[in-house]
Amino acid sequence: MIVEQFIAIAPQLLLSLAIVMQLLLIAFKRSQHSIAFFTVSAILLALFAHYPAMTNVNLAVTPLLYVDVFSLTINVLILSCSLVAVWVSYGYLRSAVECHDEYYVLLLLAVLGANILVLSNHFAAIFLGFELLSLSLVGMIGYLHLREHTLEAGFKYLILSATASSIMLLGMAFVYGATGDMSLAYQVPQQQDLQLLGQAGLVLIMVGFCFKLSLVPFHTWTPDVYQGAPMPVTLMLATVSKAAMFAIFVKFWLVSAIFNQDSMQFLLVCIAIASMLVGNLLALTQQNIKRLLAYSSIAHMGYLIIVLAIQSQQSVAWALKSGVFYILVYIIATLVIMIYLSGRSKAHAITDNDDWRGWQGLIWQRPLQGSCLILALLSLAGIPLTAGFIGKFYLFTVAIENQLWGAISALIIGSGIALYYYLSIIFCILAKPLETTSQTPIDKVGNFTVSHATVMGMLTVIIVALGLFPDILASQLIFQSEQVTIIFNEASQRF
């Protein structure tokens, strides 16, 4: 029994071990190459550790953690993203004079936090994962302290994230007070006043999640932090943090069977609609690609949480599948763009190279990179041929199955607005190249290497492949999600 539990959380244990070893390694030898290599190996090892974990799912490891296929899937996604992040960071930081080896420790800590968050089945675990993730991220955001916006971004993230997590903690306290149970599968009490307390607690917990998913009205930090953070950290924020938060939000929502409460359902749909509209509106004329991605992530998270607004247990499987597919697709497209941006930026520059007007005519100078970017943007815009369309199609099916007409309208309007800025960028890439002689041309900036292009190309191939044959992935997901439903059913019936 105990062995099984160890196997189930082996990846996390490996990561923890790796963090300790990292510290030792730093003490032993300060070398960016070696620590980066070590980090990559650790993450790879954790990834491989998922194979045995997969064989033995639906297992509670202490009351704090619960391992199931859904969590494992998300964890694999998170680890893959962090792999990319490490690799990107390596290229990004390589040019700096200083040796940034602590950075990798923070990175691994954040990944560990995200992993724990995804697996957690208890408020305490949520709290631990949440804070581990946030605090490491604050460290990473403020890491390159000589850059122009680092301080501001770090401070904003610290204060706001701390406020949000206090609010969430207060909510947990309320829920605990109302139910006497800190497990996710708590039972709402019968008493009137306790019910109210529980309800209030629930809302406050939701605020915490919404903050991290940067949903309206808790979105304000997103663009500033995205912009101020170093490019690889932005990448982490946009992928690892978002995926983990989404996963725990889903678990929280489904295991506690919150979707049965009409008022919560209503709040969720309102938040979703507001996010779609506000996010897209804010992005409309944005010229900083990092800010633009931040705003569009607001909208995308708005689309995404539609999958939570389900009305019956039967829809759960389909909703989960859609949700996972969508976030996966979103992350891949974001990765393509952010890898490009990381390749074109340097740690020791005062800011990142993040004005998309600089991409003008890219496709004629670097056809491969240009077309990768275009396809990624199309995927974000949800245009057929790309996986983004299939993701959006799934969301539509979920929304229609649950008859969320308001959300559907907002989705359509939001997509319409979004097209404006995505197309603007695409047309910029397609335009005639600028005839500049004074400035360095875009394809000479940064440490962009062949490997960047290769990874971008591979991810783009995945985007197109999933756009043409979504069954490659979707047929895998549906099986798992069905299992997840059973688990959740069991979980909700345990008490």
Partner: protein, 610 residues
């Protein structure tokens, strides 16, 4: 019936040759091609008429079906020709007079750089006109109808470099197009009621199961709309005087002899329907009556020789309409034929004169031509005599026949009769005004006269003059077509006398008013406001301009930016405004961000608890 099949396609073939080879052809070859095409047509029509006379004394026509054009539900619209006595008259006139005019045109346009193109258009026109009259069904008729319209457009605007010509061409096309649209609506209505567009089937159906009163009323009215457009009758007549911008042979062929009579042909053809709608038939008569008077009055004050003739054409077609409306069908169609002869003669004569005086068309700048070009002047005078129905001419035969039958017309016979006689009087006044000013008095042109003696100019004129004199006696057998002969009950005996005297009286009045008293007295156009009003065609043009054209252009131009697009832009403007507002909220201030966080939380709490 090979002759019938090929009849309209000879000119089409020559058109193709001319348009494809165009400038590569010399004048001689081009002329030969053009004349051959139409000459063959003429021969074919003679052959067709012969066989018609031989085979069908019973009134049955000849049908020649080529192919199925398209299906309207169950009804098959065929590309097919039908010939009866009415068609026979038309094809003979079109190809015969057309041939003569082509001959004249060859000489008239000889020096034009686009000569081949001109002859090509003329040939195409003949083809379209033949299709119009030969059509077995109304759709094919409509094809011809539009075809002649297009050719008319091309020929009026032939000298396209002068914007005025282009505008005149456009005006002609668009005004007639209004009529065409009404005609098309008439066809739709007919099809809805009868389920066929075959003319003979429609007419035959009226014997067994006639149209309802309402349907007949509407159909007759809509077809009349088409007819007044093409035949330049009230209220769509304003294009014809402007159409004189085209080369003179065009005016002769299209705007006098053939195309403008298409409306008369249509109403004559659809007589069976009109008989079911007596009110509309009466309207036809009134339209004709008013047109002949108004055009006559306008003709009194024209200075351009071709405009005088144009107004007189409108007026004469008014007689035909009046005849059709009052039941004088045979006479009306006969008048159509004789009118083609003498009006072609007049236009060609005018053309010869215009050439002689260096493309001067103002009659007040001519004068004294009788002495200087006697042959042409006499031929012209023969035409004028026929026009005013001088006894013994073809015009006399047909016009007097119309007038004679008016009296017994069921509705307003005596009124029509009187108006027609007044019209005849006015006709002779303006005709002789033209004659006196042009042919008498001193020569007022700025350049030396260039007498025209080319065979191709004189010969057609001579033949047409002969026809203008004797054309009224050509046997037509039209009574076979028009089934309901008017009761041969004659009115009072004096009618005939008055009708003959009225034109002669007109000559006298014209002599008093316009004959140059002395050899040197300068003839001047009038200056009074009445004269100007009449000169401008009684203000129809300006009224239409103010009521229809200007508002339309204004409306179109004011909306050039497309009001709907403005709405769309409003939406996008709105979006951008929201964008700016939200962007302002993204102020970068940490404390404000924290405040939104608190506010949002409070909002959510309120939302759940309430």
């Amino acid at each position: 019936m090979t002759a019938l099949t090929l009849l309209p396609f000879f000119p089409l073939f020559s058109f193709l040759v001319l348009i494809v080879l165009s400038k590569r052809l010399s004048w001689h070859i081009a002329t030969a091609v053009a004349l051959t095409g139409i000459g063959l047509s003429f021969i074919a029509s003679i052959v067709v008429i012969q066989s018609l006379n031989v085979s069908a004394s019973s009134g049955e026509g000849l049908t020649q079906s080529l192919w199925t054009w398209f299906m309207l539900g169950e009804h098959e619209v065929r590309f097919a020709f039908y010939v009866d006595q009415l068609t026979a008259v038309m094809i003979a006139v079109v190809s015969g007079v057309g041939f003569l005019i082509h001959g004249f045109a060859a000489a008239y346009m000889r020096d034009d750089e686009n000569y081949s193109r001109f002859m090509a258009y003329m040939n195409l026109f003949i083809c379209a006109m033949l299709l119009l009259v030969l059509a077995e069904n109304l759709v094919l008729l409509y094809l011809g109808w539009e075809g002649v319209g297009l050719c008319s457009f091309l020929l009026i605007g032939f000298w396209y470099k002068d914007p005025d010509n282009a505008i005149a061409a456009r005006k002609a096309f668009i005004v007639t197009r209004i009529g065409d649209t009404l005609l098309a609506l008439g066809l739709f209505y007919l099809f809805m009621e009868t389920n066929t567009l075959n003319i003979q089937e429609i007419l035959a159906q009226q014997q067994t199961s006639p149209l309802s009163d309402e349907a007949a009323w509407w159909i007759a009215l809509l077809l009349l709309g088409g007819a007044v457009g093409k035949s330049a009758q009230l209220p769509l007549h304003t294009w014809l005087p402007d159409a004189m911008a085209g080369p003179t042979p065009v005016s002769a062929l299209i705007h006098a002899a053939t195309m403008v009579t298409a409306g008369v042909y249509l109403i004559a053809r659809m007589q069976g329907v009109y008989l079911l709608a007596p009110e509309i038939l009466n309207l036809v008569a009134w339209v004709g009556c008013l047109t002949l008077l108004i055009a006559g009055i306008a003709a009194l004050a024209q200075e351009d020789i071709k405009r005088v003739l144009a107004y007189s054409t409108m007026s004469q077609i008014g007689y035909m309409m009046l005849g059709l409306g009052a039941g004088a069908n045979v006479a009306a169609v006969t008048h159509l034929m004789t009118h083609a002869f003498f009006k072609a003669l007049l236009f060609l004569g005018a053309g010869a004169i215009i050439l002689a005086v260096h493309h001067q068309q103002n009659i007040f700048k001519m004068g004294g031509l009788l002495k200087r070009m006697p042959l042409i002047s006499i031929l012209f005078l023969i035409g004028i005599a026929a026009l005013i129905a001088f006894p013994g001419t073809s015009g006399f035969v047909s016009k007097e026949a119309i007038i004679a039958e008016l009296w017994q017309s069921k509705t307003a016979g005596p009124v029509f009769w009187w108006l027609a006689v007044v019209g005849a009087f006015i006709t002779s006044v303006y005709s002789f005004r033209l004659v006196f000013i042009t042919f008498f008095g001193p020569y007022r042109a700025e350049h030396e006269l260039l007498p025209q003696r080319h065979g191709l100019i004189v010969l057609p004129l001579v033949i047409l003059a002969l026809l203008a004199l004797g054309g009224g006696y050509i046997p037509t057998h039209l009574e076979q077509v028009f089934s309901a002969p008017v009761a041969s009950q004659h009115g009072p005996a004096w009618l005939h006398t008055v009708a003959i005297i009225a034109p002669l009286l007109g000559i006298g009045v014209a002599y008093l008013l316009y004959f140059p008293k002395t050899e040197s007295s300068p003839a001047v156009p009038g200056t009074s406001s009445v004269y100007r009003f009449s000169h401008n065609g009684l203000g129809f043009d300006s009224t239409y301009n103010a009521l229809v054209v200007k508002p339309f252009v204004w409306l179109a131009n004011i909306n050039r930016k497309d009001v709907i697009d403005l709405l769309v832009q409003l939406i996008s403007w709105n979006t951008f405004t929201w964008h700016s507002a939200m962007k302002a909220a993204q102020s970068g201030r940490l404390r404000w961000y924290a405040a939104t966080l608190g506010l949002g939380t409070a909002l959510l709490l309120l939302g759940v608890i309430l």
